[in-house]
Amino acid sequence: MAMLRPRACSAETKYCPGCGHGIANRILAEVLEESGRDKRAIGAIGVGCSSLMPDTFDIDCVQAPHGRAAAVAVGLKRCRPDCAVFAYQGDGDALAIGLSETMWAAIRNERITVIFVNNGTFGMTGGQMAPTTLEGQKTSTTPMGRDAGATGRPLDIIKILRGLDIAYLARGSLSGSADIATAKKYLMSAFDAQDAGYGYSFVEMLSPCPTNWGMSPSDAMKHINGVVRQTYPTGEFLRGGGNE
Amino acid sequence: MSDVVCSGFGGQGMLTAGLILARTAMILGKNVTWIPSYGSEMRGGTANCNLKISDFKIGSPFVTDIDILIAMNAQSVDKFMPMLRRGGLLVIDAALCGASFRGDIRIESVDATGIAERSGNPRGANACMLGALAASGALFGRDETRGGMTAFFDSKGKDSAKNVSCFEKGFELARNLQGAPAWT
């Protein structure tokens, strides 16, 4: 079977070899194009490795300030309610500097879709600790391994968002073909919830960062399946009408 | 040119009194500025506004030499009476009559709080004060002020009848407590 590249993935991505962002970009493009949403899609793109996306992703977009992608998406969606509006952000962007914007877009049940790529590190800046870094994980700012006593435990945003009246909440993984297919379904469901007017949808994707994890691409995939998922279980957590 | 300060406790309607005078001035085609005290300025016991009314272009909206002071509490008298020009007008609630006043100013007094309460419109004391101001002849006449008051309440979508009634009583019951010094 010939694999056709989505039209939106018009050029080679600029991510490191084995990076999960390339997969995330691809399934997002597939979801948008298979549902005909690519013609009316607008993205608000986070800062970090996410900010490499506008160069190679042929969908209308805005490069948001660091952490503010959800707020930019809110501005877009409120003005263009018929567009499929998404925020695309990493863990530093959405959960550290942008936690306030992430939470308030959800609290107001804004009709946007947030695509959250969790690779447990600040990739672009050289592998510093992120809110999602696992306990004991060595990073360039936790050289002895993350100490929960000093830095808090890894932030599981799904646990927090579950308590809100939002439309859709899921966590997938980019660590294998079956998981990627499932993550793609989650994305489709998220955009369906947005189009139905149910409100805020959020899809987290566990994603490998071989460069900063110091692993080969295949070991990074195994690490997600064997270790990362113990802290961040996958699945659909909310699926409904939000508070409409 | 009239530089006016309206001052009292928050809730006594002195900012509104200033707004009514500002609207009256606007209707009469005059230049006018109104600026309120707000925030920490108001914690000293007075809510006040500065009003400048002129046929000419108005510079600073802040009043430094007062032509007319409308004061509904003692703190306002204490704070602003020293800024009254010689021969300027002080309009007070009759409850303040016992205080000591400068000899070089005019004083018009009216039992604004009492009239308003007896009229079943306790918030209409400010309208009584405006009645006394009109009676003094120092700024706008009776018809002009009443017109400004009606226009003001209309613009807020509120009925002005009860306040106009307080205004009329204030006009009729106001008394001149202290006349202008001979040299003015």
């Binding site: 939106a8 690519d38 013609k39 009316r40 899609a41 607008i42 608000a44 506008p54 042929d58 969908i59 209308d60 977009c61 805005v62 490069q63 948001a64 300030p65 952490g67 503010r68 707020a71 930019v72 998406a73 809110v74 501005g75 877009l76 969606k77 409120r78 003005c79 263009r80 567009c83 499929a84 306030s100 914007e101 939470m103 308030w104 | 707004l19 500002a22 609207r23 606007m26 230049n31 006018v32 500025t33 109104w34 600026i35 309120p36 707000y38 925030g39 920490s40 300025e41 272009k57 108005i58 510079g59 600073s60 909206p61 802040f62 430094t64 613009s155």
Partner: protein
Amino acid sequence: MKELMKGNEAFAEAAIRAGCRFFAGYPITPQSEVLEYLSRRMPEVGGVFIQSESELAGISMVYGAAAAGFRAMTSSSGPGYSLLQEGISYIASAELPCVVMDVMRYGSGLGDIFTGQSDYWQAVYNGGHGDYRTIVYAPSSVQEMADLTVMAFGKAEERRNPVTILSDASISQMMAPVELPAMACHDPDAPAWALKGKGNGHFKRHTSVMYYMNEYDGYVRAKYEKIEKEDQRWESLETEDAEIVLVAYGISSRICEEAMRSARAQGRRVGLIRPISLYPYPVNAFDGLAPRAFLSVEMSALGQMARDVALACGMRAPVYSMLGGTRLYSCSDVEARIGEILGAAHGAF
């Protein structure tokens, strides 16, 4: 027909009449009337009002709305204006239009809420990072607030750049009769930069324009040189024969105009330059003037505008400062300072 309005309300209503249909902002004294007014008014005209979780979020929402082709704005004061700088830099770098009002209160840190002019450097020389400027208009009356707000939206689109309305607590809290502009329409689908999904065409992206430009350095320099050449605005009063020229904007210019009239009545030859655009600074206003002295008057303790006066007049005459801060100077204070300076100048000659 004239309406009696606060400066803040005139700003909000004029924006609506200029076709602004998006506001996101956060309460702060002495600016909150803008939110209160628009929370009621925006829904009446089918626009969007959002009370944002912070100024950081508010300006980012404005960024999104501007990218969608809408006329969008926010407003704040001192501490909140600091938080807006992040988004303003992004919007400037993406060359999108928006209008931002800063209602100056006095002081650094929390400061206080009384009137001041201590955000001049921040507004005029960019509180945000990078190589950009924002066009800055400083109204000195409620009427001018309305007029400049309408102009700001047009200028923001013409120059594809944020425009700042630099107000102060006095101009914003003051009420005066105002002739409101007529209702204008803005079609958000019309601007070339409006995002609405790529449809069957080519996609658009809004990010720093420098990424996709070969000669960015020269381009950005030329952009702002053109603004500096063409967009200066000011009012000159009786400067031709003046021995001393006052220079003041916003609330200070009102006090100075009163002082100037009073001094003129006493036979002193005093003039006034009132900058309306603070960026670009109206250097042309100083052409050909040769007074004995310039006096820059502002409500900041450090003399934030004074050096711009010195640059603008080329130091052809001594430039003095009259500074405020926590203290509000009056017309007679300015007159006294004029007397001092002229006395000293005469003494020296």
